[in-house]
């Protein structure tokens, strides 16, 4: 892998991240935003895991006869981050349910209209 070819991997991941990010900030539907957030975060995880990769390496479970392992630290970090992302998703969805009950809609534009009427 030479030159910029060694980086295209990251670029695709960045495009993925931005796809999710776009859904978060551009879509008025709350569930869609949560989905966007999920994609955004998952893509960030991919970025981390990509950086842990080592050419010719293998999973960091020590075994006789294997010399080269991938970096375990990002894996650990991402394990934690996945959990955090799940927690956020769960909480966000719970809020969405409550918002639906209180406003009768989960469209941000409609909610703003109702808020202004208050």
């Amino acid at each position: 892998m030479s030159g910029l070819l060694g980086l295209y991997n990251y670029w695709i991941v960045i495009i993925l991240m931005m796809t999710g990010f776009y859904a978060v900030i551009a879509r008025p539907n709350l569930i869609k935003q949560i989905i966007g957030l999920f994609i955004f975060q998952t893509s960030v995880f991919i970025l981390f895991i990509s950086m842990a990769n080592i050419e010719g390496g293998t999973a960091p479970i020590i075994k006789e006869g294997i010399r080269l392992y991938s970096n375990p630290l990002p894996h650990v970090l991402i394990l934690t981050a996945i959990v955090v992302s799940l927690a956020t998703t769960a909480l966000g969805l719970a809020l969405v349910v409550r918002i639906k009950e209180a406003y009768g809609t989960i469209n941000e534009d409609n909610i703003h209209v109702q808020d202004e009427e208050d």
Partner: protein
């Protein structure tokens, strides 16, 4: 458990108390549990300040794994001050909380409320003392998630949208921080802040580090509600339960500022942050814009909590302004204001909490002639307001004084005028409340209103007392902040 375990204990105690609270069915018991935990935290915080003062920066390797391999807790003077701020607010809010929560939150949620409260406390403390960039992210999320829940407990339905908005923005911010930390890790191979700071100079001029810097800065800025990333804040503070507004307004954004300080000075180093990235200029611009615009917006708010929320955005601008000067005087001024503003906003929101308890509203139009019926509460509010404006003999004056003189010595002329002029805008919005409460004829509904109970007034006045004490004798706090600023800047110079 020895005295050396204090750094970790103060985070672990609320963390351990949280599940206990979840188990306790009786709201009173849950409250008592949270109360004990928060007071223990305060006691530990005081001991920590004393110890840091005596022996200098503390370092605690969790699990006995030394620094870059394990997670390190690191408390220097600035950190100790932050711990103290969080602990004071956390401890004083608790006695206040019982009555207020009984009034504002459904009984079945009470135990859960205290659980979330303790988690939030734990998250904030963890963010302050940690010396590990990723651990910071984890504790940031603990505090954020719990504060989303706390905010959503507000009595109006708008609290839900406010919490949701905060959740979205907060998560974006946290993810940005995560990206930034990831990029940093990618270039250095370490997550420990001190280790990072030693390894960064080698790779400082890479574009990756610049991107990392940008992402961390933006991410943290969302958390600390730096203008124009503050949109979540006014709604969140307005619609949250009173106790939550007080606690979060006084601590969460402040801890965010502290994290920013850590990154700028400890991790990236002053030279990189301010000379290479020119973050000082950008921050200064945003701070100025934030101060002016948020103050002006605050003037036009009819809900007092919302007004205070916008005022918070402006006040954060002051803190950032101090930091953006990148001088020992500026940073220490910023930190003084950080402490003072935490106390002021805490007191003001508690006072509003008292009013809310009796009036069931924080709207200006409902407060006509309130001072007659709640003299102590309104007096506290006025005292806090004066401090917010920066009237002499209050803590707000001290911080504005330091800010102004830091700006003067840095040669930022217009800033001085701005600082003073904006405190005048502060006067305008605070005065609107005073005028309504003191100089208007009470409404017909008012005769039923009584003074708030003592358990709520005493914490409020304790905070006011801290304000006034600092206003009278700021030597203690300026000592601490000066040391803190010197350590921060000194680390940058090494």
């Amino acid at each position: 458990m020895l005295i050396s375990d204090l750094p970790v204990l103060q985070v672990v105690i609320p963390l351990a108390a949280a599940p206990v609270c979840l188990l306790l069915r009786n709201p009173r018991h849950a409250w008592a549990c949270a109360l004990i935990a928060s007071w223990l935290v305060l006691a530990i915080a005081l001991m920590l300040v004393q110890r840091v003062h005596a022996v200098g920066t503390l370092s605690y390797a969790i699990g006995a794994w030394v620094a870059p391999w394990g997670i390190e807790y690191r408390i220097d003077m600035a950190g100790a001050l932050m711990v103290l701020v969080v602990a004071i607010i956390g401890a004083l809010v608790m006695p206040f909380a019982r009555r207020s929560i009984e009034h504002e939150i459904l009984e079945k949620c009470t135990g859960l409320f205290y659980t979330c409260y303790l988690l939030c406390l734990c998250g904030l403390l963890g963010m302050v003392v940690t010396g590990d960039a990723f651990n910071l992210f984890v504790f940031l999320e603990i505090s954020s998630l719990s504060s989303y829940v706390l905010i959503s407990l507000g009595s109006r339905r708008r609290a839900l949208t406010a919490a949701y908005q905060y959740l979205i923005m907060g998560t974006i911010g946290a993810t940005f921080i995560l990206i930034g930390v990831g990029l940093l890790y990618m270039m250095t191979g370490t997550l420990n802040m001190v280790d990072l700071s030693q390894r960064l100079p080698e790779v400082a001029n890479t574009r990756t580090i610049m991107a990392a810097f940008a992402f961390v800065t933006v991410g943290v800025s969302i958390k600390l509600a730096l203008f124009p990333l503050h949109q979540w804040l006014p709604n969140a503070y307005t619609d949250a339960p009173s106790v939550v507004s007080a606690f979060i307004a006084a601590t969460a954004t402040k801890v965010g500022v502290y994290v920013l300080l850590r990154f700028f000075f400890t991790v990236f180093g002053m030279q990189f942050s301010f000379d290479a990235m020119h973050v000082g200029e950008i921050l200064m611009l945003l701070a100025v814009a934030g101060i002016l615009i948020a103050s002006l917006v605050a003037v036009f708010q009819d809900n007092v909590k919302r007004m205070l929320a916008y005022s918070s955005v402006a006040q954060i601008g002051y803190i950032i302004l101090g930091i953006s000067m990148a001088s020992a005087a500026g940073v220490s001024a910023g930190m003084i204001h950080l402490f003072n503003h935490a106390m002021i906003k805490g007191a003001l929101f508690l006072a509003i909490g008292c009013i809310f308890l009796r009036l069931g509203s924080a709207e200006l139009r409902d407060m006509h002639g309130l001072a007659r019926h709640m003299p102590w509460t309104m007096a506290a509010f006025v005292a806090g307001g004066l401090s917010l404006i920066g009237i002499p003999l209050t803590s707000g004056f001290i911080s504005k004084w330091y800010l102004a003189s830091a700006a003067l010595s840095g040669g930022y002329w217009p800033l001085v005028v701005l600082i003073l002029a904006s405190s005048l805008i502060g006067l305008i919005y605070m005065w609107r409340v005073v005028e309504v409460a003191y100089f208007h004829v009470p409404g017909t509904m008012m005769h039923k209103v009584r003074e708030a109970p003592a358990v709520m007034l005493i914490p409020t006045w304790l905070l006011i007392g801290i304000n006034l004490y600092v206003g009278m004798d700021a030597s203690l706090i300026t000592d601490i902040t000066r040391q803190g600023a010197e350590i921060l800047i000194g680390e940058a110079l090494q």
